[in-house]
C-alpha cells in the first residue's frame, strides 16, 4: 500500500498542474462569444454597460454606456499609435456628422494609450464625437477586445447589433446603420 503513495501523489500534482495550465490558456484565449451570438441572430447586451469611464481630457467627468440607452451608438475602440485607427478616424467623424441629429452617436474608447497622445489624435483628426478612456481594459475585455481597432454598433435597446474586429469603412457603416437608425427610440 505504502509504495503506491508516492506515484499517486505525483500523478495528483501533475493533474493539478495540467488543470491549471488548461484553465490559464482558456482564460487568456480570445473571447468570440459576442461574434458567435450575433452570427446566430441573438443580439447580446453590452457587458459592463454601467461601468463609469473617464472622459478624455477631463479630470473628473465620466460616462457610462448605459446612459446612452435609446441612442444608436457606434462604439469604436482605438489607440493613437495604431495605423488602422488613424485610417478610419475620418470615416467615423464623417459618420458622426451624419447621425448625430438622429439620436445616434459615435463613441470613441481609447485603450492602451496615454491621455496626451489620445488628445493629440482627437485634435489631429478633428474628432467631434465623445471619447472616453478605458485604462485598465476592463470594459473592452468584456467585449472580447484584445487589440485595436474594433467597432461595435449598439442598437437603441443597448444590444450589440454588429461587430467589426478590424478597420471600419464607410460601406460597412452604410450597411449597418440605416436599419438601426430607423428603429423607434
Amino acid at each position: 500500500m505504502r509504495r503506491f503513495v508516492v506515484p499517486v501523489v505525483a500523478v495528483a500534482i501533475a493533474t493539478l498542474l495540467l488543470a491549471l495550465l488548461v484553465f490559464g490558456v482558456t482564460n487568456q484565449g480570445e473571447n468570440t462569444s459576442i461574434d458567435a451570438s450575433i452570427a446566430r441572430g441573438v443580439l447580446p447586451s453590452v457587458p459592463n454597460a454601467n461601468m463609469a469611464l473617464p472622459v478624455l481630457g477631463s479630470a473628473s467627468a465620466s460616462e457610462r454606456l448605459s446612459e446612452l440607452r435609446g441612442e444608436v451608438v457606434v462604439l469604436n475602440v482605438f489607440a493613437s499609435w495604431c495605423a488602422p485607427c488613424q485610417a478610419e478616424a475620418p470615416v467615423l467623424e464623417h459618420a458622426q456628422l451624419q447621425i448625430e441629429h438622429r439620436d445616434a452617436t459615435v463613441l470613441g474608447v481609447t485603450y492602451l494609450d496615454t491621455s496626451t497622445a489620445s488628445q493629440q489624435f482627437v485634435h489631429q483628426w478633428h474628432l467631434t464625437y465623445p471619447v472616453v478612456r478605458d485604462v485598465d481594459g476592463n470594459f473592452v475585455h468584456g467585449l472580447g477586445t484584445d487589440g485595436v481597432p474594433e467597432t461595435f454598433v449598439i442598437d437603441r435597446e443597448g444590444r450589440i447589433a454588429a461587430v467589426r474586429r478590424y478597420q471600419v469603412n464607410g460601406r460597412w457603416l452604410q450597411q449597418t446603420l440605416p436599419r438601426l437608425l430607423s428603429a423607434p427610440s
Binding site: 498542474l17 491549471l20 484553465f23 490559464g24 482564460n27 489607440a79 499609435w81 495604431c82 485603450y111 492602451l112 494609450d113 496615454t114 491621455s115 497622445a117 478605458d134 485604462v135 485598465d136 481594459g137
Partner: protein, 205 residues
C-alpha cells in the same frame, strides 16, 4: 544582447542552468530558493558546521538590523534601461528592452520625460501603468489567477528541496550499506581468533 547570452546557455551543466534560472527569476523567488537550499544544506551538514552556520546567520542578522548608512538612504536615479526591462511595448507586445517600433519609441520618450522630472524607476512604472493599464507591465500584477505565477514555482522548488532533504540521507544510508558498512562484516570473532588477529597486527605495527 540576446546573442551574448545564447552561447553560455548551451554550455552550462545542470548546476549552471539552475544558477541561470535563479538569476532570471524574480527577487522574491530567488530569496525563497536560496533560503530553501541553505536549509537543505544545513539539514545535511554535520552538527559542528550547523553550529557555525547558525552563528554566522546571527551575525548577519545583527548587521542587517543595524541602522542604515546615509549612502543606503539616498534614492538612486532612474535609468531608461532598468525601466525598459520592466515594461512592455503595448503595440508590439514584447519587452520594451527589445522592441523597435514607433510606439516603443513613444514609450521611451515618455520614460525619458519622467526621468528628467526626477521620478524613480518604480514611480515611472506606476505612471506607465496608469496611462497604458496593466497590459504595459512585464510582470503580471499579483492578484487572481496571476498569483499562481508567484506562488507555484517557489512552492514546487520548496517541495523538491524537502523531498531531497528526506530522500538524500536514505539514499546515502542505502549506498553505504550496499558498499559494505558495519552490517556487512559478518559474525564477530571468538576470543581465540580475536587474540591471534591482535598478535598478528602487532607484529606488523
Amino acid at each position: 544582447m540576446r546573442e551574448r547570452t545564447a552561447t553560455p546557455i548551451r554550455r552550462v551543466g545542470p548546476g549552471g542552468a539552475a544558477a541561470l534560472l535563479l538569476a532570471l527569476a524574480p527577487a522574491a523567488i530567488r530569496r525563497l530558493a536560496l533560503g530553501g537550499a541553505a536549509a537543505l544544506l544545513l539539514a545535511l551538514a554535520p552538527a559542528a558546521i550547523r553550529r557555525l552556520a547558525l552563528g554566522g546567520a546571527a551575525a548577519l542578522l545583527l548587521v542587517l538590523v543595524a541602522p542604515a548608512t546615509p549612502a543606503a538612504a539616498t534614492t538612486p536615479r532612474a535609468s531608461l534601461t532598468a525601466v525598459e526591462s520592466q515594461v512592455m511595448c503595448v503595440a508590439c507586445r514584447e519587452s520594451l528592452a527589445v522592441a523597435h517600433s514607433p510606439q516603443a519609441n513613444a514609450e521611451r520618450s515618455f520614460i525619458r520625460t519622467l526621468i528628467a522630472q526626477g521620478y524613480t524607476d518604480r514611480q515611472i512604472v506606476e505612471q506607465l501603468a496608469a496611462q497604458y493599464g496593466p497590459a504595459v507591465l512585464a510582470k503580471p500584477p499579483a492578484r487572481g489567477f496571476n498569483l499562481t505565477v508567484y506562488i507555484l514555482p517557489p512552492a514546487i522548488l520548496l517541495a523538491g528541496l524537502a523531498g531531497l532533504a528526506v530522500a538524500l540521507p536514505r539514499w546515502r544510508r542505502r549506498t553505504r550499506a550496499a558498499a559494505g558498512g558495519p552490517a556487512a562484516l559478518g559474525p564477530p570473532l571468538d576470543a581465540g581468533d580475536a587474540r591471534r588477529l591482535e598478535e598478528d597486527l602487532n607484529r606488523y605495527a
